[in-house]
Symmetry: D2
Subunit: 136 residues, 4 copies
């Protein structure tokens, strides 16, 4: 994995990703490391990090790394399916996300994303299926 | 389904749900209707509504309706798994969400959430599994 | 939906589908109705119908109906993802399967398959994603 | 992981698992290794191993290992959800399955199962959620 430049980091944090605070730390075409700092605005009514935050992180980092790898061939990458399992709540600190590529097909890539808290406990898992399509 | 009072509506929109703009329109223990108005802050870099927004909506409305039904028995409801399939992008207008309960078990409820755009086209589907647990 | 001819019915029941006893009752490009009669050979050690049986049925009927619709254009249909939720066990009688198409895309179709027992209780749900590809 | 005794191996292969030919090779409460030899009876009409076979293997080995770990406390283990992604077809040889436990909760365990062919290529992935419940 390589660390993104300040420009890449800034360009990465657009739209929804900026809204919830996604930070890209390192990436390659096989793995991505990113994080989000917990704040009250990311929580559901019981005070836990909202499940949608994990799903959003997985979607963004798997799509980004796939796109970075296929863009030169004139392709785009879009999420096809996002399956997230919630194992243990996070209520404070930092959400650490690690995406690992499991499959690189002609038309679909599959990534497994694991989320840990500051104590390195596994808190959520996402399987992301990304569609790779030629720009029309 | 019943429409929430102004107080319920206000109480519903906390934390992350307030951040991305979830509006609860009607609910029962079998169905929920909600919506989110698209804005640039909800998009991914290609200009489409971010996949995490659909996942977040499904998580919130299925959890809310389950909790509303089991709270009187001293139970809480938390997301166990969220599986979202993306069928067609939304770029403007309103995201319309309809959750329908498929299963009411002793320890898990299952909901199917469908998302449509202003032209009533199906754009995403979520299967939400909610765990029902006694407050400890 | 149309009922398959005796020849179609026979041709349908090949390989694994024949092994576990899948019977095709009716189909169209939007819905499929099929069934499997429970026998001890389809059970797991606790005496319930094995989860793999539901997954297999969903895979077969969604793939079959997609293929029937796209074959004339020189395409094949293969399973991309199969997500099955188990709601209530079946121990005897007939497993009734109804597949409903939710999405017909250029490269993926999505089907929801619901399984009921002889008392018409919902026992399992599968979301099937089928890839449509040109024959190479 | 420990290898099962001849008796355990025999007891393991009941009902549906015997029908499709599941062989348990080694297990612990954190991992399971099993295999199935491909034969025509396990295929779908295009000559590939049927998707239901992978789903069935994952269901059986994750349930078995969970049950082996919780039975002494008077609990049973049943499949709650089975999400399988198909990456590459297998047409001959042996299906090698490796289950790895990702989460051991009070009421749910989560396993990731990976399937490889004789050339050690990754062919399918299953995320299995197992419910742990007290015997009633």
């Amino acid at each position: 994995m390589v660390e993104p430049s300040a420009e890449e980091r800034e360009a990465f944090a657009q739209g929804f990703d900026r809204l919830y605070g996604l930070e890209l730390l390192a990436y390659s075409d096989e793995a991505v490391h990113a994080q989000v700092t917990v704040r009250d605005e990311l929580k559901q009514p019981m005070g836990l990090v909202h499940g949608g935050v994990y799903a959003a992180i997985a979607e963004s980092i798997a799509s980004f790394a796939t796109f970075a790898a296929v863009a030169d061939d004139g392709n785009v990458a879009t999420g096809l399916a996002n399956a997230t399992s919630f194992l243990r709540p996070i209520t404070a600190g930092v959400i650490h996300a690690l995406a690992e590529r499991k499959h690189r097909g002609r038309t679909t890539w599959v990534w497994d994303v694991s989320f840990t808290d500051d104590a390195e406990r596994l808190c959520a898992l996402t399987r992301m299926t990304i569609a790779v399509r030629a720009v029309r």
